[in-house]
């Protein structure tokens, strides 16, 4: 979506097989490596990045990568996927822009089932 919208995108992953899913038309760059490793992030050009997204399968990996981007490299927009609502809540309070697919999913189900907007539930 971002490359289609004309943004420059670099995708990082530990496994090169993950890049296959980007398809042959992907216009961005791919970097093999660990997203919490500051050297790898530099190679990916984080020092001139306007935004950083952490969306690996691991909450903690995402949180740490985002904190590296934000606090070490001063990236302006950092968005983090955090599955665990409790953790998501904690790190939102610490200033991370956290997206919890768990909460979004649960809300959608609630709304489909009841036809009413999902209530905010304290975590």
């Amino acid at each position: 979506m971002l490359t289609h919208a004309g943004h420059e995108v670099t995708v990082m992953d530990l496994k090169s097989s993950a890049f296959g899913r980007l398809g042959p038309d992907f216009k961005g760059t791919t970097i093999l490596g660990n997203g919490i490793d500051q050297e790898v992030l530099k190679r990916a050009g984080i020092e001139r990045a306007d935004a950083f997204v952490a969306a690996t399968q691991g909450d903690n990996r995402n949180i740490m990568a985002s904190q590296v981007a934000k606090h070490i490299f001063g990236v302006k927009r950092v968005v983090t996927r955090i599955y665990d609502p409790l953790r998501s809540d904690t790190f939102a309070a610490l200033g991370l822009q956290a997206i919890s697919p768990t909460i979004i999913g649960a809300n959608s189900f609630y709304e489909e089932l009841t036809g009413e907007p999902a209530p905010a539930v304290p975590v």
Partner: protein
């Protein structure tokens, strides 16, 4: 003292054993059930099986009344996250992390983790102390400051020998704190004269370290 230890690997296990021997209250959080069972057999009822980075596990462990939470898993991201949760959510006063990749030390400090232990760094500083060299050996940096504690071994060619400390051209904000001579340590005063073979322990600001080094290791 009540200490929660996140991670029941070798470091966590032996740390817990020592603390228990000292009569402290300890709880290990270990994720792997076989390992948790092993620890329970060895050390008694001091294990909680669970994921220490989940807030609910920390709550169950009594993080709110813990004096210290120590994170010693093999993954820096887990240690970093669980200690931040302990600190922010449960108000843990003191958080201590094992760091596996030395490059992460900065980030941990920046994010408010109170103390870090990094095996690579420890090895390195021990090695540096073992290797005789004409250089300042950094012993430690006072936490959250730029004050360094350094050691220098004075040799016969050094220009700091033979003159009283008060006449040395020490950089500003630097002080010679302790001298070890013939295996005994003493606190010097302005009249103390350095001799070849003296081990000098000095305090200085990081910015002045090069000047201190130059003073001690420029030959006469």
């Amino acid at each position: 003292m009540y200490a929660i230890i996140a991670g029941g690997g070798k470091v966590g296990f032996f740390l817990a054993r020592e603390l228990i021997e000292q009569g402290q209250e300890v709880l290990i959080i270990e994720q792997n059930s076989e390992r948790a069972e092993f620890i329970a057999n060895e050390l008694g009822n001091v294990v909680l099986r669970g994921n220490a980075d989940e807030a609910s596990t920390l709550a169950e462990a009594g993080a709110e009344r813990a004096d210290v939470v120590v994170a010693v898993t093999g993954d820096d991201e887990d240690n970093l996250v669980l200690l931040q949760v302990a600190k922010r959510r449960f108000g843990t006063r003191r958080t201590i992390a094992r760091i596996n990749d030395p490059r992460n030390e900065n980030l941990f400090r920046l994010l408010g983790i109170d103390a870090t232990v990094n095996a690579t760094q420890v090895m390195l500083s021990v090695l540096e102390q073992e290797i005789p060299q004409a250089n300042l050996v950094p012993l430690l940096r006072l936490r959250n400051t730029d004050i360094e504690v350094v050691e220098a071994i004075v040799d016969s060619k050094s220009r700091v020998t033979g003159i009283p400390l008060r006449d040395l051209d020490l950089p500003p904000e630097s002080t010679v704190a302790v001298i070890i001579r013939n295996s005994s340590a003493f606190f010097p005063n302005g009249a103390t004269v350095l001799e070849p073979g003296d081990e000098v322990i000095a305090f200085t600001r990081s910015v002045h370290e090069p000047r201190l080094r130059a003073l001690f290791f420029t030959d006469r």
